[in-house]
Subunit: 420 residues, 2 copies
C-alpha cells in the first residue's frame, strides 16, 4: 500500500438521488493532490448503515487515508457515525466535550438544544472527535488497520474549515507522499483529435508527466500532471512539457488553468491600450457581457449595440436598408456593415459584428439554424467568417460558440496587429 | 437483488484529481429516480483498465442496471472500453457500422478521420454498440450475470442524448419500482427562511410529498417529491402540495423546474405582445443576453445599449452631461435617464436602465462595490431601486444579481400593467 493515496466516501441520499451535485469530492481531491496525495477511489452511497460500513472497510483496505463526508446531522436519516462504528467493530459513546459544544452552539444563538441534536455528541469508542468551528456536528478521527479514517460534515463550508484546520496539518506532518503539480493549457481553434495528434508522443501512457486532453464546448484543455520526489523536481518536469506543448501548438493556446477566452482577449487589449466595441444580433449581448466579465474592462470596452431587429441594425449602426433587403439580415455583407458602422460610431480600434440564426426556429434550407457570420474590423483590415455550427446544437450552444469564435477572432486580430 | 436499483461508475482522471466536477452522476441519478429506480452506489475512478474492470464487476454484483460514463474518447488515456471488455472477459472487435459512423462524422465536417479515432469503433465481443447522434464515440450495451451494463460518453450533452434516446426507453419498458414524481417551484424576491416559514407545515419530515427549499444565487427553489403506488397517485399528491405552495407565495413564484427568470419574463412579454429595450452599464449586456436566451425573443426584444463609458451614455442614450457630472454615473438619476432615453429611442413598451459598481475595484466609501441602481420605465410610470449587494460578493455575482433583480422588476411591472 503506497503512502500517497486516499479514498473518499460521500454519504447522502440527496447525492444518490441526484438532487444535489457533490462538489465536496472535487474540493477534497484537489486539496489532497496539492499535498501529493492521489485519490484512487471515490464512492458515493446513500444514508444506510450497512452500505457505509462496507464502503469504509473496502476503502481502508485500499488507501491509508479515508475521508468520509456527510450524514453527521441530527436527523434520523443521518447514520454515518453508526456505519463507521460498525466498520470499526465498536459501540458509540456520548462524548461530554462534544455535548457541551453542541449545547453551546445553540446557547450562543439564544436557543435550547433540541433533544434530536444529542446524537451529534456520539463518537465511536476509541475514536477522537474533531472540533467543528462553524456548525454543530463534530468530525471523527479513527484508525482501522493501517488506515486513518476522517469523518467530516457534508456542509461544504464546515467540511472545508474542518479539513483545513484539523486534517490537512496532520496529513502534512506525516509527510504526505510525492509532490504532484498540475497545469491546464487551454486551446481554441482546432478539434480535440487535431490537437492530440500534435502532442501524441507526450500523451503516451506511463510517461511522467501524464498529458491528457479534455474538450469543453469548443475549448480543448490539455492537462499536464507531473510527479516528483520534491516539489521542485515535479515543477521542472511540468514546465518542460508545458513549454513543449506551447511550442508545438503556438497561437492555438490562449491561456492556462481557469482563464476564459474573454479574459485572454481583455488582458491583451488592456496591455496594448486598444479598445473594442460590439454589434450583436443572434448573440444578443453575450459578447459584450463576456468582454466586461473582467474587472478593468472599462479600459478597453467602449460600448455595445444589441441590434436584434432590422430596424435597429439600420438606425443604430447605419446598415443600409437596401443591403438588408438584398442579402438578408444573416449575411456576410450585413455582418461587415454592422462591424464597420459600430467601429465608426464608437471610434474604437476594433469592432465586431455578429449576425446569425440561433434557432431552434427561423432556419431555412438556404440559411439553416446554426449559420452565423462574424466580422472583425481592425486598424488595417476587415475580416469575415462564415460558420455552420450544425442544426443539432441547442440555441445556447450556437450562441455560446458564436461568442467564443468572435472572441478568438478578436484575440488573433489583436495579436496580428501587434506583430505588424 | 431488487429490480429497482442502479449503480453509476464515472471514469476520468480529471474527476479523481478534482479538476472537473462530475455533474453527470446527479443528472443520471435524477433521471433514474424519476423512473422509480434508486441509485444505490456511485463510484468514481481514474482512467485505469484494472480499476474499471473491478468497478464494473463489483457494480454488476450489486445492481441490475450499471451505467458507466466517460473514457470513450479517441486518445490513449481513454480506456473504458478496454476495462469493460476485461470485466466481461472478452476481446474488442472493430464494428464496421461504428467505423462508418465515426468516419461520417468527420466527413460531414469536410475532414478525414484521424487514425486515432479508429479506436472509437471498438466494441466488446457479444456487446452492442449504442448510436451517438451528436459525437463520435458510440456507447456500449453489454450483459454481465443478471445485470445490463450501459457505457456512455462523458461529454454531458452526448451522454444525455444517448440516455434519453436509447437507454431510458429500454429501462422503462422493463418496468421500474414505485412511481416518484417531482416538481421544483422557483421563487424570487424573498430569502430562503422567509419562504420556508410560509410553508413550514408542508416541510415537516416524514410527510409525503416531501417539501424542501434550496437557495441558488437569489433564486429559492421549493422541491416537492411525491411517491405513490401508481404514477397517477403520485401526481395527485404532488399537485395538491404545489397548488398550496403557489397559493401561499403568490407572485414570489415565477416558474417551475428549469425555467429561468428571463424565460418567465419573455413568455409574459410574448403573450401580452409587449416589447422591451435595455440600457446597461455594469451588467455589460448580461440583461440583453438573458432576454434573448429564449427562442422567439425577437417578438419582444427590440434592442440593447451597452453604454460602459460616460461618453456612450451621453451619445447613445442622451443622458445629460451635466447630470453625469453632478450625480455621477452610478446614481438613481442616471439609471432613470438611461431607461427613459432607451425607451424613447427604441420606441419600446418597457425599458430598463442599470448602472452600478461591479468591482472588485472602483468602489468608494460613498459608493461602495455592489451598489447598483435599476430603473424601469413602463407604459404608465418610472420605478427605480437602489440595491446594495455587499462588498463581499464577487464581480460575477454582483452582475448576475443585478441582472436577476432587473428581470424580476420587469416581470412584476408587466404583471402590474396587465392588471390595470
Amino acid at each position: 500500500m503506497s503512502t500517497a493515496t486516499a479514498a473518499i466516501i460521500s454519504c447522502g441520499n440527496e447525492l444518490i438521488l441526484g438532487s444535489v451535485v457533490d462538489t465536496n469530492t472535487a474540493w477534497l481531491a484537489t486539496r489532497l493532490s496539492e499535498m501529493g496525495i492521489a485519490t484512487t477511489l471515490h464512492v458515493t452511497i446513500g444514508d444506510d448503515e450497512e452500505d457505509i460500513q462496507n464502503a469504509v472497510l473496502q476503502a481502508a483496505g485500499k488507501a491509508p487515508i479515508v475521508i468520509v463526508s456527510g450524514g453527521l446531522g441530527p436527523t434520523l436519516d443521518d447514520v454515518t457515525r453508526q456505519g463507521v462504528a460498525r466498520a470499526l467493530g465498536v459501540d458509540l459513546y456520548e462524548d461530554p466535550v462534544c455535548l457541551e459544544h453542541v449545547k453551546g452552539f445553540f446557547a450562543r444563538r439564544g436557543r435550547t438544544m433540541p433533544d434530536t441534536n444529542r446524537v451529534q455528541a456520539l463518537v465511536p469508542v476509541g475514536a477522537k472527535a474533531i472540533h467543528n468551528t462553524c456548525g454543530t456536528a463534530p468530525g471523527i478521527r479513527a484508525e482501522l488497520g493501517g488506515s486513518v479514517i476522517y469523518v467530516v460534515p457534508g456542509v461544504p463550508l464546515e467540511m472545508q474549515e474542518m479539513f483545513a484546520r484539523s486534517i490537512q496539518p496532520e496529513i502534512q506532518a506525516q509527510g504526505g507522499g510525492q509532490a504532484i503539480v498540475k497545469k491546464m493549457l487551454l486551446c481554441f481553434g482546432a478539434g480535440e483529435s487535431d490537437i492530440a495528434n500534435q502532442i501524441a508522443d507526450l500523451m503516451k501512457r506511463g510517461r511522467n508527466p501524464t498529458v491528457g486532453t479534455t474538450p469543453h464546448e469548443m475549448v480543448i484543455g490539455i492537462r499536464v500532471v507531473a510527479v516528483g520526489k520534491t516539489p521542485g523536481e515535479a515543477q521542472a518536469l511540468l514546465e518542460k512539457d508545458v513549454a513543449e506543448c506551447r511550442r508545438r501548438l503556438g497561437d492555438l493556446v490562449y491561456g492556462e488553468d481557469q482563464t476564459t477566452l474573454a479574459e485572454a482577449v481583455g488582458r491583451k487589449l488592456l496591455d496594448a491600450k486598444l479598445t473594442v466595441a460590439t454589434a450583436e444580433s443572434c448573440t444578443g449581448g453575450w459578447l459584450a457581457k463576456s468582454l466586461t466579465d473582467l474587472s478593468g474592462s472599462s479600459g478597453y470596452f467602449l460600448c455595445g449595440y444589441v441590434t436584434y431587429s432590422n430596424q435597429a441594425k439600420a438606425e443604430l449602426l447605419g446598415v443600409p436598408a437596401a443591403m438588408l433587403e438584398e442579402f438578408g439580415a444573416v449575411s456576410e455583407e450585413v455582418a461587415r456593415a454592422m462591424a464597420m458602422g459600430c467601429k465608426a460610431r464608437a471610434a474604437a480600434n476594433f469592432a465586431v459584428g455578429i449576425t446569425g440564426i440561433a434557432g431552434p426556429t427561423g432556419g431555412t434550407a438556404e440559411k439553416p439554424v446554426g449559420l452565423v457570420y462574424i466580422a472583425i474590423v481592425g486598424p488595417s483590415r476587415v475580416e469575415a467568417h462564415r460558420l455552420s455550427f450544425g442544426e443539432h446544437l441547442l440555441r445556447w450552444q450556437i450562441r455560446d460558440r458564436a461568442t467564443k469564435v468572435a472572441l478568438n477572432m478578436l484575440r488573433l486580430a489583436v495579436l496580428e496587429s501587434q506583430q505588424q
